[in-house]
Each structure stands twice: as structure tokens, then as C-alpha cells.
């Protein structure tokens, strides 16, 4: 495949007349998945000599819906593709069209009027198609000014627009050779103003691989487990806060830094102590416990489909790299700050899940690439479409904090007997060690005594009262005994609530 900037390139893939469902049982009941495009590589994803399979190297790094039946995709090797016809039933009618090339590992895509914005390693770029031939001819610098050392880990993500119209960009920390995290906003989330100037907003991130806006228009980002990051957190991005990672602490001395820190920095202490010791530190809105919920969170996508994707509108979907899965996050505001719970949701994707986007018809597009790390998927990269169809599994829909316990809202009426019994539930809380080590064990574990479980009259919710709730701790709830009215058990009888504040 020769790169030709002036020519239009169409690559036909596959010759299957019908969309091929993924293997049975791969996706939760009520959701069916179709492989739009997946490819294997002849080499393993961590191999230094990795090579792609034939056809379009669709290592998805950005997904954006840009027309009624047109999906825009950035791929890691530096291209933007437009994919047409993905909402039909006939995979042979899907068209692949390359819009831009030669970019440096773009990791996001956003339509902006007639133009497209991508963030590549060195800058945010405006892609223009001046002559209207369907291929970009203008690659205009839209924002830059962050430091680029040439270290491999210095990924740059975005842009993503919040409810107020701000364009967000986030920057990884370097790791290893050439690493330089002390300058140029590494580990920050920034916004870009209309003049293309960077506005550093929030610091202390490590590898904020994806973000997304909730229904309030607020921006949330994932981070990934590593140094100073115990597990996958979901952070609420806003000005003037610091999250966890101190490797780029020098950047706080920059006169333009929106975060000012005085006094000693907390270290080697339980995370709640660190949060209390450092007023600028914003606790993670939700922790996704390591291994229990996956290993590395990626994209954030709010469910805003008016019920077309199940009864979870307003909740966030969070991509999961290693486990090739999609998790679900419920958020609520308590004393002015977001916090909430996470639940396992969709799994069995054929490669690491990196990007998520809803199509106009309410189906979810899942973009994948394994390269450089590993996942449970057996393909190297690709694109899968997930549709909600039929009854969703019996699940805990919402988990809300109460001053003396939690309120659980279910997807269907519960069996009053089992759900009303205290012994159907168990809860333990834990936190992490806040340190520069890579990840953290769960520490300071303690059980919570469940005192009562009261089923609401309509059977849709249960009020748990308990002893031993601890602020800033993760509360792991198991509901092994709870049955639906139909007798069905929960597909995932577990939820993890990050109780930063008691209401």
C-alpha cells in the first residue's frame, strides 16, 4: 500500500456477506457484537519486530462519529480513515477511505466544522480538505507547546470537547530513555483556547489514555496503574487540582501552573491520609480495583442513548485494555463532588479495548489495538460494533451512598426474600498505599457489618444499612445471595464504590 496524499485510497476488506457475530458468550446477555474489522498479526503484540496483518492497519487510536453512516478513525501509524456503511448488515459494503496520513501517532479525533482536529505527539493539528477531494491537504498547527522528548511513553491524547466548549488535551509522562517530565506539562490535562494557547488545568496524571464528558458536560479521564497510581482511577478534570503522580512535580513551579503546592508532599502513606494532607489533591472519583476490574483503563464514553443501549443512560463506559473489556461506572454528586461505583459490563473483545464511540443508531463502536502490551484478545487490532438487543442481564444499575449505607437500584425487580436478607450481602473496604512504587496492594482491609437490607415496595431497589463505612476508601460489595423476582442471580454480583465523602 503506497501512501499517496493526493490520491484517494479505498481498500476492500473481507468478503463476508453478513456481519459475523463474535463467539457465543463473548458479550453480556442483551448485547450482541459484530466484528466490523479485525486482524491478526504474524507476531505477538509485545514483539519488538511486530508486523501488522494485511489490509488496513486499523489499530484504532481515535473514534469519532462524523456523519449519519460515517465513522472517523485515527490509527496509531499516523492516519485518519473514514469508514462508510458500518451501520448496514452487509460487511462487504463497508468502504474504507484514507483522509490523512503521515501523522505522528494521533490518539484522538474531533470534527470541528468542516475541519478535523487530531492530537499527535507534538501538537494539535487542524486537518483541512481545501479542494474538497476527500483527502486532507492542510495540516495546520492548532496548538502546541508541550515538551516532547522523543521518549516512547510521551503520548498525547485528544482533543475532546466538554459541555462548555473547552477543548481538552492530556499528556502522558515519559518513562525510560530520554524521559523528561519536569518541563512542558507532562502529566497534565490542558485546555486549548481559541488562539491555540495551552491552558494547563490539572496535574499529577501518569498515563491518561482517554477521556469523555458526562451528561453534565463535565470532563472525566482515566489514568493507568503505575508509579504513584494504585489502580485505574476515573478523575474529574477541572482547574487547579492535582491527582496522584509526583514525577512531574517540577512543572508546578512554572509561573503558568494552575496548581500551587506549599509544604511537604505526602508519600508512603495510605491514600486517604495523602488526600487529607494535600488540599490540592483531588481524590479519584472512582477507583477500578486492579485485576478485579481489569488492569488498564482507557477511553471514557457516557451512555447518552435514551435507553437504546440498555437502562444505563448517564453512566460512563470505560474501556479496559488488558482484559479486552468495557466496564461501567455510575457517578453521583455528593457534597459537590463526583464519586460512585464501578461494575464489570462487557467482555470478550478480540483485542485490547482502547476507544469507544456511540453511533447515531445507538450502537457502540469499540476500537482496539494490542500492540506494545498484551490483552486477553487473540487478534491484534480492529473494530467491533455492539448492539443492545433483548433483555439485559440482571444487574446492579446504580449504587448510591447514604449516610449509613448504600441504596442499590437494580435493572429488574428483586426477589424480596433473598434481597431482604442481610446474609445475601457482604462488604469489605480497603484503600491503597500512596507511594512512588508501581501500583499498590489493597491495604487496611476491614469488613463492614451489614445491619439491614430493606427492599423497596416496587422491588427495584434495596436500602442497605451498615456499620464501618470509611471515607476515601473503596467499598467492595458482594451480592451473591440476591435473586431477581424471576429467580435469576446477578451476572456480576459485585460493585466497588469509592466513598470519598459520606452524604
Amino acid at each position: 500500500m503506497s501512501a499517496n496524499l493526493n490520491g484517494r485510497l479505498r481498500v476492500g476488506v473481507g468478503c463476508f456477506a453478513l456481519l459475523l457475530p463474535l463467539g457465543a458468550g463473548a458479550i453480556e446477555p442483551g448485547y450482541e457484537a459484530f466484528e466490523i474489522y479485525t486482524a491478526s498479526s504474524p507476531s505477538s503484540s509485545r514483539d519488538a519486530t511486530w508486523k501488522p496483518g494485511d489490509g488496513v492497519t486499523l489499530e484504532v487510536s481515535g473514534l469519532s462519529w462524523i456523519g449519519p453512516d460515517r465513522l472517523g478513525v485515527t490509527v496509531r501509524k499516523g492516519e485518519v480513515w473514514f469508514i462508510d456503511g458500518v451501520l448496514g448488515e452487509d460487511r462487504s459494503k463497508i468502504g474504507y477511505h484514507r483522509f490523512a496520513s503521515g501523522l505522528h501517532e494521533p490518539l484522538g479525533l474531533l470534527q470541528d466544522g468542516k475541519d478535523f482536529l487530531v492530537v499527535q505527539r507534538t501538537e494539535m493539528t487542524r486537518l483541512q480538505d481545501g479542494d474538497g477531494d476527500g483527502v486532507a491537504d492542510g495540516y495546520l498547527t492548532a496548538a502546541r507547546g508541550w515538551h516532547v522528548s522523543g521518549n516512547y511513553h510521551g503520548y498525547a491524547y485528544g482533543p475532546e470537547r466538554d459541555g462548555k466548549g473547552n477543548l481538552w488535551v492530556s499528556l502522558n509522562l515519559d518513562m525510560g530513555e530520554r524521559a523528561n517530565n519536569g518541563v512542558g506539562w507532562r502529566g497534565w490535562a490542558l485546555t486549548v483556547d481559541e488562539k491555540g494557547q495551552l491552558q494547563p488545568m490539572a496535574a499529577g496524571l501518569r498515563s491518561p489514555c482517554g477521556f469523555g464528558v458526562n451528561l453534565d458536560g463535565e470532563m472525566f479521564a482515566t489514568d493507568q496503574q503505575g508509579t504513584w497510581v494504585a489502580a485505574t482511577p476515573i478523575h474529574h478534570l477541572r482547574k487547579g487540582v492535582f491527582y496522584t503522580n509526583q514525577e512531574s512535580i517540577e512543572t508546578l513551579k512554572d509561573p503558568e501552573s494552575a496548581v500551587k503546592v506549599t509544604g511537604a508532599l505526602p508519600k508512603d502513606c495510605p491514600y486517604p491520609e495523602a488526600v487529607r494532607a494535600m488540599p490540592q489533591m483531588a481524590p479519584a472519583a472512582v477507583w477500578l480495583p486492579y485485576n478485579k476490574m481489569g488492569r488498564s483503563g482507557t477511553d471514557v464514553q457516557v451512555i447518552d442513548q435514551q435507553g437504546k443501549f440498555g437502562p444505563f443512560d448517564g453512566q460512563l463506559l470505560v474501556g479496559e485494555f488488558t482484559n479486552s473489556a468495557v466496564n461501567r461506572v455510575f457517578l453521583e454528586k455528593v457534597k459537590g463532588e463526583y464519586q460512585g461505583a464501578c461494575f464489570p459490563f462487557l467482555s470478550g473483545f478480540p483485542a485490547a479495548v482502547v476507544r469507544l464511540a456511540f453511533a447515531p443508531d445507538g450502537s457502540l463502536f469499540v476500537g482496539m489495538t494490542n500492540r506494545g502490551w498484551s490483552s486477553l484478545g487473540n487478534r491484534s487490532y480492529g473494530l467491533v460494533r455492539v448492539r443492545q438487543r433483548g433483555e439485559v442481564a440482571f444487574a446492579v444499575k446504580e449504587m448510591r451512598a447514604k449516610p449509613d449505607g448504600f441504596e442499590l437500584v437494580f435493572t429488574e425487580p428483586v426477589d424480596a426474600t433473598s434481597a431482604g436478607e442481610v446474609k445475601s450481602y457482604s462488604m469489605e473496604s480497603f484503600t491503597y498505599l500512596y507511594s512512588g512504587a508501581y501500583g499498590s496492594e489493597e491495604i487496611e482491609k476491614a469488613g463492614c457489618e451489614i445491619q439491614s437490607a430493606v427492599v423497596a415496595a416496587d422491588g427495584m431497589s434495596v436500602r442497605l444499612k451498615m456499620k464501618g463505612l470509611r471515607e476515601l476508601f473503596v467499598h467492595e460489595l458482594h451480592l451473591d445471595g440476591v435473586r431477581a423476582k424471576s429467580g435469576e442471580g446477578l451476572l456480576y454480583p459485585v460493585g466497588y464504590y469509592t466513598l470519598n465523602r459520606l452524604p
Partner: protein
């Protein structure tokens, strides 16, 4: 989990016997059994095949569960149907048997490895599903049963398509833990130095993934897998066990580790019938559950002289190692219909793209030093065949010598060759078009990607090469390699007068001594990731030495290239020739700083434009020009590059009304200026040899 349920047949499985000598008793079959069942290890006077041992038993404690060891000792055939391990506690009453088995177990679990036991790396991630794919691809199923989860593209085999039982696996979950099985798979030669379970060159990751597959361990972190069950050895039992092991002569087959080497006693054969052959239980006599045909074959062998001719030895040795599971030799062997389904590779090269090459005449085909290196794990020349040639490092020398002697045959010598003619014949300009199908060094072929022929002289014996080219199908029936000299007549009449002998010799001559490429290679055929501008410019960002992390490269048709610094906007480098290999930029996780594909690169001389004053992007115009939008001396500039009449043309256009910035040019390059440019524009032409 296994496709084939454990067989009810319980006689020891020597695959080479069951498959090729299992119907009618023969002396050869008996010789194979005598060696492979380890008879020779106690009784001596064998057929001279490569030594067959049992597993090394030092560090048994670090590898397997004691409970399994005890169960296996008590009834090997019950625990692993088809095992070659005989029952050793026959003829004892149950109570005494239990006491002895326990004592021997304690003794074996007390053994220490002779060397330092290497702790293999434990990867943080494992993937059982991938392990299944690797297990079914690299050759494990040439001997062992496939597992039911895996569906070969060629369709699942039917039970009757298997010509021999699979080499049995014990209940792996009882015997191993995930980590110990992975460690075994990564270096089986440490435990099985006799090569019957050969080293496959599995990577750390492959071994772990296969172990997780076989143990059905699904989580992604293998460090969470359960370990071996703890076992405390008791000194008294160890002592008793040691005495029994000495008496049983276990050291005849097993290395027992430890400092002192146990004495191996030779047990002279008193009679050539009865004894172990009867299968009757008797105290002190190992019990093999031999089949009637096995007994008959052994008796036939024992009646004659033990020695075998070298050709017979070679034949039986290849059967002993089960080489025939993958390889055909003189029309015998190769994968059976069932196992054939698991051999995958490049379909473009037909069966030769997925099956191991025949061993017919292998001793006169390969140069001995090459053959030895193949046995030692080097010399992998068929990357498209996914089944891996195992490593037989310890046996390499002896096997090479034996096959050389067995296949020795006087073949006509090669005639004198002509380099020039070879250059032409290999190529596609009036030659026999070898490079149409064959890879040449790092150059892909023009069609199917068949074996690299640029180094054949290192591998092959010249006489065999001649014989093969005259009749390729004689060596490998069904090969895609056409007879280019059918009946010894050349189809190319105008080279060396059409003399087939001289032509073949000339091809050899060029392969051995020629320099450069065969004739008619098209202008560089790219590796898949070399960017070759054809219809217009190609722009690619990368990390580039001499330019930095913001480098933007533009290559133009005709081999003219420029690099700009996307941070400062300075023009940085020009070069002629090949543009850029994007492989690392596109696909390497820790991508290095790159270089242009040519060594001769010219950098901009000092000047205000060479400093750069800011970068605002670039535009591509319809005419094939790349315009970098930069700032020089505080003035906005479009700094455009294109190819015109074989030269690199640079058009600089600055803001109307602004003072003209200062320009400079690449040092070492001829510069001329095109007069009559528009206002606020200058046009420079760069040319150089």
C-alpha cells in the same frame, strides 16, 4: 479436553514402532523397542541408536507434585496410559508396595539438581487462548493430541485419521503447577536431555501461554496461579527409598542428581525369552504391558546379532526421535491425515509452504556443518512454515555424522560455472526467473515468497543442487518448483549455448561468489514499510536524528527528499535516493530516533531561515508541492518544496509588504536561482550528484 480420549490400549507407546512396525513383528521394530524402552540401558548390547533416557529426577520437588509421583510409581500405565515407564513394584503385597512407593517418593522428592536450577522469568501476562493457538501451530500436536477447543482451518480430524496414538500426557493439573509446566516447556532438554521431548525454542511467553492453555488457567496474571503442593520429606523414608532405588537400578534410565553418581549395574540377559517380556508380575522384575507384536518383535531382535547397518540405524533413529511425525523420507512418514491439518504456513507455496521438507537423502543434501547448526537450533530458512524444527543440540554431532554416512552416494560433480551467466539466469531478463518466486536476501521475490536462495551454497552440497534442479519433483513430489531443464534440456538457448550442466553450475557460481542482485530486479522492491514516493510527495512525521522529535519528512518522486523541523520551522536536511523506512515510526513501541535511508545527507548552512522562527503547519498543493508554513526573521513565510526537472525546487514566499527574510541553503549542494519570480517570492533550485 483432548480430542482423542485416552486409549484403552495400554502398551508402551513408541510412536515410530506403532506407526511403522506395529502390524507385523520385525527385527527392526524389535531393535527400536529394545533401545526406546530402555532395555539396552540395563542389559546392554543394543542396536546403537541414540541413548533413550527417562526424565532427569534432580529437582523433582521443584517441578511436580509428590502425590502424583507416588501415584505414578504405583501404577505407571494407569496414570499415564502408554508410558514407557515400567511398573516396578510388582509381585509385592499391597502393604509392602505402598511402603516402598512412599519411601521412593520421599527419596525422589529429596533429590537436588546437579546444576543450579535456573528460575525462569515469569511474565506478568499470560493468555491461555493464545497458548492454544501456539500449541497447535508450532508442532506440539505432531506428537501429542490436539485439544478440543482448537479448530484447525482445514477442519477437525476424525479419530480414524490418526495412524498412531498421541504421545500421552499425564493429568497435568495433578502433576504440575502452571509455572513449573511453563518452565519445563521453555527448556525441556534440562529434564529430558535425550531429545525425545525436544526443545522447541519456545519463548518465555509462548511457554507460559501454552502452560496456561494445558492447565486451563484463564486469568491474565500467571503469578496468581496456584503453586505445587508442599511436601515434607522424612529422612528415614528417604534413606529407605534410596536403597530401593539403588536396588532397582533406576539410575540406568534416570539421572538422579545429587553429588555421588549412583552405580548402574548391567544385568546380563540370561535368556532371550520370558523375563520382562512375559508381562507377568514378579518381585524385582519391571513390568511392561507389552503387546503381542511388541514381544514378538523384541524376541526377533534378540535372536539375531545386535548390530545394525548404518542405513538401518539412521532409519530407526529418525523413528526414535519421531522425526517422521513431520518429515517424509523416501516416501515414508510425514504427518498423517489427521495431524496434517495442523500444519499451517504460506498457502501461496502450497504444501512446501507449510510442511517440513523431506529427509530423503538429507545426508547428501545438506552440508554437514549446516546440518549440525540446524540440529543446534540455527539455520531456520523457511519462516513461512509455522511448525518449528526442534533443537537437538546434544545429539547434533552424532546425528549429522550418521545421516552423512547413511545417505552417502557418489553424484556427478558440478561443471565449471560462469558468474555473468549465473547473474542472468537467476534473474528475470532472459534468465530462468528464479527471483520471480524466491526471496533473495532481504529482497522479497516478485511473486510467491519461496525460500531465500541467496545463501544456498552455505546450506547445500553442490552435487545435490545439480541433481535437484534437473528434477525437483524427484526430491519433493508435488513441489511448485518447475523442472527448468526437463530431460536435461535448457529452455534458455542463448545463454552458454543452452548447456544445462553449465547453466546450473553458473547459477551455483553466482549464488556462491556473485555480488549484487540477479539481473532484472525492478528498482528497489520495498520492504512493506519503505515509503517510496510515486505519484506525489509523501509526508511523514517521526523522531529523526539531527532534526529532533518534531521532524517532518517530505519525499518526492524521483528520489529527492527534504526534512523540516516542525518545532522551529527550519529547513534541516536534503538528500537524494531512497526516502524513509517507516517501520519503527509506525510499529515499534519504543521507537528509536531514525535516519534517512541514504547516508549522504546535506544539512542547511547557517542563516536566519536555518534557525527557524516558528512553525504553523504545512499544505500540500495539487502540483505536488509541500509548503511548510513557517516564520523567518519575524515574517510569515511559505517555504515550498517540489521536484522540477530532476532537481529540488524551493519556492519561498513571504508576506506582502514585509522585509525579505535572510535565506540560506544546504551546504555542499549546488544552488541556482530562477529569475523572474513573482513579487515577495524567490525560487531556488538545488541539485547535486
Amino acid at each position: 479436553m483432548l480430542v482423542l480420549a485416552a486409549s484403552v490400549r495400554a502398551e508402551p507407546l513408541v510412536t515410530g514402532f506403532e506407526r511403522f512396525h506395529g502390524e507385523v513383528a520385525t527385527r527392526e521394530g524389535g531393535a527400536l523397542l529394545y533401545s526406546e524402552l530402555g532395555c539396552v540401558n540395563c542389559h546392554g548390547a543394543g542396536p546403537g541408536l541414540a541413548v533413550r533416557q527417562g526424565p532427569v529426577l534432580g529437582d523433582l520437588k521443584g517441578r511436580v507434585n509428590a502425590e502424583w509421583v507416588a501415584a505414578f510409581l504405583a501404577d505407571p500405565q494407569q496414570v499415564k496410559a502408554g508410558t514407557m515407564m515400567p511398573g516396578l513394584f510388582e509381585g509385592l503385597d499391597e502393604k509392602e508396595k505402598a511402603v516402598q512407593v512412599e519411601a521412593v517418593t520421599h527419596y525422589l522428592m529429596s533429590l537436588k539438581p546437579t546444576g543450579k536450577a535456573a528460575k525462569p522469568k515469569v511474565p506478568k501476562h499470560a493468555n491461555a487462548e493464545r497458548g492454544s493457538a501456539v500449541f497447535h501451530q508450532v508442532g506440539c500436536v505432531a506428537c501429542h493430541a490436539p485439544t478440543a477447543d482448537f479448530h484447525p482451518a482445514a477442519g477437525a480430524p476424525k479419530a480414524e485419521e490418526f495412524t498412531s496414538r498421541p504421545v500421552p500426557l499425564p493429568e497435568l493439573k495433578a502433576k504440575y503447577c502452571v509455572l513449573s509446566l511453563a518452565a519445563f516447556l521453555e527448556a525441556p532438554d534440562k529434564v529430558r536431555p535425550d531429545g525425545r521431548m525436544p526443545h522447541l525454542g519456545l519463548s518465555n511467553e509462548d511457554a507460559m501461554d501454552i502452560a496456561c492453555h494445558l492447565m486451563d488457567f484463564r486469568p491474565s496474571d500467571p503469578r496468581e496461579a496456584a503453586g505445587l503442593k508442599a511436601f515434607a520429606v522424612e529422612a528415614a523414608k528417604v534413606k529407605r527409598g534410596g536403597e530401593i532405588v539403588g536396588k532397582m537400578n533406576c539410575a540406568a534410565c534416570h539421572e538422579l542428581g545429587g553429588a555421588e553418581k549412583p552405580v548402574v549395574a548391567t544385568v546380563a540377559l540370561k535368556a532371550k525369552v520370558g523375563g520382562c517380556l512375559t508381562g507377568e508380575a514378579a518381585a524385582g522384575r519391571p513390568r511392561y504391558a507389552l503387546s503381542a507384536v511388541q514381544v514378538a518383535a523384541l524376541e526377533l531382535y534378540l535372536k539375531g546379532a545386535p548390530e545394525l547397518a548404518v542405513a538401518e540405524r539412521a532409519d530407526l533413529t529418525l523413528k526414535a526421535f519421531n522425526c517422521m511425525a513431520c518429515h517424509d523420507r523416501d516416501g515414508v512418514g510425514g504427518p498423517d491425515v489427521a495431524r496434517n491439518r495442523y500444519f499451517v504456513g504460506d498457502e501461496g507455496i502450497a504444501d512446501a509452504g507449510r510442511l517440513a521438507p523431506p529427509l530423503t537423502g538429507i545426508g547428501r543434501k545438506l552440508r554437514p556443518e549446516w546440518m549440525e547448526s540446524v540440529f543446534k537450533g540455527a539455520g531456520r530458512v523457511r519462516p513461512y512454515v509455522k511448525t518449528r524444527m526442534p533443537v537437538y543440540a546434544a545429539q547434533a554431532k552424532a546425528l549429522t555424522k550418521m545421516l552423512g554416512e547413511a545417505d552417502k552416494k557418489e553424484l556427478p560433480k558440478l561443471a565449471a560455472g560462469d558468474l555473468q551467466a549465473g547473474h542472468k539466469l537467476l534473474g528475470i531478463a532472459g534468465g530462468v526467473n528464479c527471483i520471480t518466486c524466491h526471496v533473495w536476501g532481504d529482497r522479497p521475490s516478485l511473486g510467491i515468497q519461496a525460500l531465500d536462495i541467496s545463501q544456498l551454497d552455505k546450506r547445500l552440497q553442490a552435487e545435490w543442487f545439480r541433481e535437484y534442479l534437473l528434477n525437483p519433483a524427484g526430491y519433493r513430489p508435488g513441489t511448485l518448483m518447475p523442472p527448468l531443464w526437463p530431460g536435461g534440456v535448457s529452455m534458455v538457448k542463448d545463454v552458454l549455448g543452452g548447456d544445462a550442466e553449465k547453466q546450473i553450475a553458473s547459477i551455483w557460481e553466482f549464488i556462491a561468489k556473485g555480488e549484487g542482485l540477479p539481473e532484472g530486479y525492478p528498482e528497489y522492491v520495498t520492504g512493506a514499510f519503505e515509503l517510496v514516493p510515486k505519484d506525489g510527495p509523501i509526508v511523514q512525521r517521526t523522531f529523526l536524528n539531527e532534526v529532533g522529535a518534531y521532524a517532518i519528512l517530505a519525499g518526492f518522486p524521483g528520489g529527492l527528499n527534504v526534512a523540516c523541523d516542525g518545532e522551529t520551522g527550519r529547513p534541516a536536511l536534503v538528500w537524494r535516493g531512497r526516502f524513509f523506512d517507516a517501520y519503527s515510526t509506525w510499529f515499534v513501541r519504543a521507537a528509536p530516533f531514525e535516519d534517512p535511508l541514504e547516508k549522504e545527507v546535506f544539512a542547511w548552512a547557517k542563516g536566519s531561515d536555518a534557525e527557524g522562527g516558528g512553525f504553523r503547519g504545512y499544505r500540500l498543493d495539487k502540483g505536488g508541492r509541500v509548503n511548510f508554513l513557517v516564520t523567518v526573521d519575524g515574517v510569515g513565510v511559505e517555504d515550498g518544496y517540489e521536484v522540477a526537472e530532476g532537481t529540488l525546487r524551493r519556492t519561498v514566499a513571504w508576506e506582502a509588504g514585509a522585509k525579505e527574510p535572510g535565506w540560506s541553503h544546504p551546504a555542499g549542494v549546488m544552488m541556482s536561482e530562477v529569475k523572474g519570480a513573482k513579487a515577495n517570492q524567490r525560487v531556488f533550485v538545488y541539485s547535486w550528484k
